[in-house]
């Protein structure tokens, strides 16, 4: 199924060429002039300009990414927003819709916001997993990372941000349409200009070597020379044997394989062992979001008080009726009927009078000042109970790689 071969670097080059041609590049038609110097994922800017990449925050889980293009309009159920008006506004501004109806917030992209707004081409890695993987493998400014497959590029943006202009992200994707979309996206987001190289390749068959690495992405030894490897593909064990050629030889290399099934982990662990990786450890990450809510404080003494109130009103009602009979006052027929058909407490509260400490029968808004509340957290309705298993390991060169001259002067310092 996944035997598509593109190990031949020549083939890759052909693919790259095809990507340029309009015939094989359907995205061209929807091409908009994005801001060429876009650095959205590497530094913040304050004022929105034409061609900028903006995330329109519309509402709950609803962020739309737009490239600010005069003449275009963002239409939402909360109103219409002309791009033109965005120019000159600040990132973070609240913008009202046409004719003052509705509003959105204009946000500056970040990898974390992108992860919750990107178009899904595949399953993606979410922030709790990606942030842990980066922290645990010590990914920082300057790290050289291999990532396969690119998929929807969720993790790619996060890696690219963190490794910065001193680091490199080598991303591989073997599915051609997905590769093309990712490449276009990375171009528009400025990743390719700064630190990202995406390659159309089946890494399980063709490995990770890259023929001609652009000068600025090249290391001392003119190779990929990766410090960290992240594999998010169905059969990492078939890709692992190819890593030897592309990982750093003079420092420890960390790897994380991301697989949803335990059977995959088994095979991965074996492949790692057979290929000289050590300190193998598998973990799961459980990320949760908690909602801040308020619960009404219902005091038992109020319950008792209310019952007493009902009772007294009831007997009062009976008194009133007796009184009415004696005095012969004219009464509403409904009232009489009501009382006759069994006088349950319910009726009293429906009158809306009386002691009603918890707002029974009323539409009470959570947090309404008229009532007493206590703060509570509620777990989000749908939690991601399993994303994937994360298998970590390290490759050590196990050799001395530098000689430090014996120092006689520093001895006394200890």
């Amino acid at each position: 199924m996944q035997s598509r071969r593109c190990a031949d670097p020549h083939l890759v080059r052909i693919d790259a060429k095809r990507w340029q041609g309009p015939l094989f590049y359907p995205f061209r038609c929807s091409y908009i002039a994005w801001n060429r110097d876009i650095m959205s994922f590497y530094k913040y800017k304050d004022i929105i300009e034409e061609g900028d990449f903006v995330l329109a925050f519309i509402g709950r889980g609803n962020l739309k990414h737009i490239t600010v293009t005069p003449g275009s309009v963002l239409n939402t159920r909360y109103g219409s927003f002309e791009h033109e008006r965005m120019i000159g506004m600040k990132f973070g501004d609240q913008m009202s819709g046409a004719r003052g109806v509705g509003f959105i917030h204009l946000l500056h992209p970040s990898p974390e916001l992108w992860t919750i707004s990107l178009p899904h081409r595949t399953q993606i890695v979410y922030t709790p997993d990606s942030s842990y993987i980066m922290q645990r493998l010590g990914v920082t400014t300057g790290t050289r990372v291999i990532e396969a497959g690119t998929g929807s590029g969720s993790f790619s943006h996060s890696f690219a941000r963190t490794v910065g202009s001193e680091g490199v992200l080598f991303s591989y994707e073997f599915h051609e349409p997905r590769f093309l979309e990712a490449k276009k996206e990375f171009q528009e987001h400025g990743l390719l200009d700064v630190n990202t190289l995406i390659t159309h390749r089946d890494v399980c068959n063709g490995g990770f070597e890259i023929e001609s690495i652009p000068e600025r992405f090249s290391s001392d030894c003119k190779s990929v020379n990766a410090d960290v490897v992240f594999l998010d593909l169905p059969s990492p064990w078939t890709a692992i044997p190819h890593l030897q050629k592309v990982i750093a030889k003079r420092s420890r290399v960390g790897i994380c394989c991301f697989s949803p099934c335990i059977e995959q982990v088994e095979k991965t662990v074996k492949a790692l062992q057979e290929n000289g990786w050590s300190s193998i450890e598998m973990v799961e990450v459980a990320g949760k979001r908690w909602e801040a809510r308020k619960e009404m404080v219902k005091d038992i003494s109020d319950v008792v008080k209310r019952l007493k109130d009902i009772q007294s009103r009831k007997s009062q009602g009976i008194e009133n009726r007796r009184h009415a009979k004696v005095v012969g006052e004219k009464r509403e027929i409904s009232e009489v009927n009501d009382e006759d058909s069994g006088s349950e407490p319910k009726k009293f509260q429906n009158l809306g009078k009386g002691f009603n400490p918890f707002g029974k029968g009323l539409r009470v808004k959570e947090g309404d000042d008229q009532w007493t509340w206590t703060n509570v957290t509620k777990i989000e309705a749908d939690i991601k109970s399993h994303t994937s298993y994360l298998t970590f390991a390290y490759m050590n060169p196990n050799v001395r790689i530098a000689e430090f001259p014996k120092q006689t002067t520093t001895n006394e310092s200890s």
């Binding site: 925050f57 609240q94 081409r121 399953q123 920082t140 979001r289 808004k365 050799v399 001259p405 001895n411």
Partner: protein
């Protein structure tokens, strides 16, 4: 191992070795005059300083000469030999890599197979990547070993493999070891190794290692923050090279250390603190040059932060003549005060200018009263990230922010890593782990439209809808989009 690294490495002279002390510290090669992180077989850990010519004592695991480990890459495991010498080895403990064919023989301990010779047994412990399938066949030729015998072995055992010998004998002496299941054998071996192997791994002291060290020592000092929560915090805060951040850090500087690691010398971190001087005790282990720390880290106390105009120092620069007239001591005092005035005023400027790329708060201060003072200093669309040990504190904070229109979509996050036992065929989550880690509130700084906005209403009861829309807008959370199961 299928491809062993070249045994005769091209040893190169170390970079800039002449002025070692001032050379940038390495994060990949074990280099002199820097701190490093030592992992012990017992899963214990230690921070050590690598002074050339020095000896580092690891207690019951032995002692070693620093010179012996210099020049290897960080991450290297060593075995301690005689005379404080070390030899590089592949792994700190025997790793349970039982192969499938053994796994298939359900009989476990009773499975038939060739007997292990003593040599093989020793090898088993020396080289982790040996195939250990035969471990289940460990001898029926049982010799009981008393604890006195172990002690005497330990005393006499100055030799390199004495730890292994002990384990070997313990196995031999463990009546019925061969009756144990593979799994319990492995567990047993691991426990024994943790006690007796004279091995250690020398790791780079990164922020994760530093955090682990403090968690182990006293997790309250880092406010119970876990590695995964630190990672989440750094990513939600979008920490990267060149950024300008406002930080409140009551972990003794561990969070600061982590930010500096990500920023690699470029950018600014304004640190607000509640004493005369900030407590950055963790930075003493850092391999950063003091000048770099000074360039990046700008402390400001809360008084200066809250009342910048009162606290700004009116500094009158002395004239050339005045300076010349000053006595040496007076002149020095002048220089000191001048520098301090400049520092204070410049950090006050940083705060009054604001527009920080993020505000990060890891503190025990009451957040609902603190945070409103910080929001204004954050740039548009930049993250506000609050850490707290207790979810309830973030809950109260989120409620208190719900009417603050400068804050968009605050949400509380929790992340927990669950480790598994990683033996093929026997994978399952570990039975117990520490319950800690803390919580993160993540929100985005926005600018509400002056004069307010009207939410959209649709349908018949427009007014009601308006109300609902407003509520909905206010309560919005950055919910992660559903996976479209590809």
């Amino acid at each position: 191992m299928s491809e062993t690294p070249d045994p005769s490495p091209n040893v190169t002279p170390a970079f800039k070795a002449e002025n070692e002390v001032f050379a940038p510290k390495s994060s990949t090669i074990i280099s002199p005059n820097q701190f490093a992180f030592v992992r012990l077989p017992s899963e214990g850990m230690k921070i050590v300083e690598l002074k050339p010519g020095g000896i580092i004592n690891l207690g019951k695991f032995g002692a070693f000469a620093v010179d012996g480990v210099l020049g290897y890459p960080f991450g290297q495991t060593f075995e301690i030999l005689d005379d404080n010498q070390v030899t590089p080895i592949e792994s700190i403990t025997y790793e349970a890599d039982i192969s499938e064919d053994v796994e298939l023989s359900e009989g476990g301990a009773e499975a038939a197979g060739p007997e292990l010779t003593k040599d093989e047994l020793t090898k088993l412990f020396t080289n982790s990547s040996e195939n250990n399938q035969n471990i289940i066949n460990i001898g029926s030729s049982i010799q009981k070993l008393s604890s006195e015998e172990i002690d005497s072995l330990k005393k006499s055992g100055a030799s390199s493999d004495f730890g292994q010998k002990i384990i070997e004998q313990i196995i031999a002496g463990h009546a019925g070891f061969d009756k144990k299941t593979i799994f319990s054998q492995q567990k047993y071996l691991k426990r024994k190794q943790q006690k007796f192997l004279r091995r250690f791994t020398m790791e780079y002291l990164g922020s994760s290692q530093l955090l682990k060290y403090y968690i182990e020592k006293d997790s309250q000092r880092v406010l119970d923050m876990s590695e995964e929560t630190l990672g989440l915090l750094l990513n939600y805060a979008n920490v990267r090279q060149g950024g300008r951040y406002l930080l409140v850090d009551e972990t003794g500087g561990v969070v600061l250390y982590a930010m500096m690691e990500r920023m690699k010398g470029q950018g600014t971190i304004v640190v607000a603190h509640d004493n005369e001087h900030p407590n950055h005790i963790a930075l003493r282990y850092s391999n950063y040059q003091p000048s770099m720390v000074e360039d990046m880290v700008k402390p400001i106390n809360w008084l200066q932060f809250m009342e910048p105009e009162n606290e700004r120092i009116d500094w009158v620069t002395a004239t050339e003549d005045e300076l010349n007239d000053m006595k040496f001591a007076k002149r020095q005092q002048y220089e000191r005060r001048s520098k301090r005035a400049q520092e204070v005023n410049s950090v006050i400027d940083q705060v009054t200018t604001g527009n920080f790329d993020a505000v990060i708060v890891v503190s025990t201060l009451n957040l609902p009263s603190l945070v409103p003072h910080l929001i204004g200093t954050v740039g548009g669309s930049r993250p506000i990230v609050l850490y707290h040990q207790y979810k309830e504190s973030l809950l109260d904070t989120q409620h208190s922010l719900s009417n603050d229109k400068r804050v968009l979509a605050p949400s509380i996050f929790e992340t927990r890593v669950r480790p598994h036992q990683t033996i093929p065929g026997r994978m399952h989550p570990v039975m117990s782990m520490r319950g800690f880690g803390g919580y993160i509130l993540w929100a985005t700084r926005v600018f509400p439209k002056e004069g307010g906005v009207t939410a959209v209403g649709r349908g018949v009861s427009k007014k009601k809808k308006d109300e609902e829309a407003k509520v909905e807008e206010k309560d919005v959370v950055m919910e992660e989009a559903k996976d479209d199961k590809a």
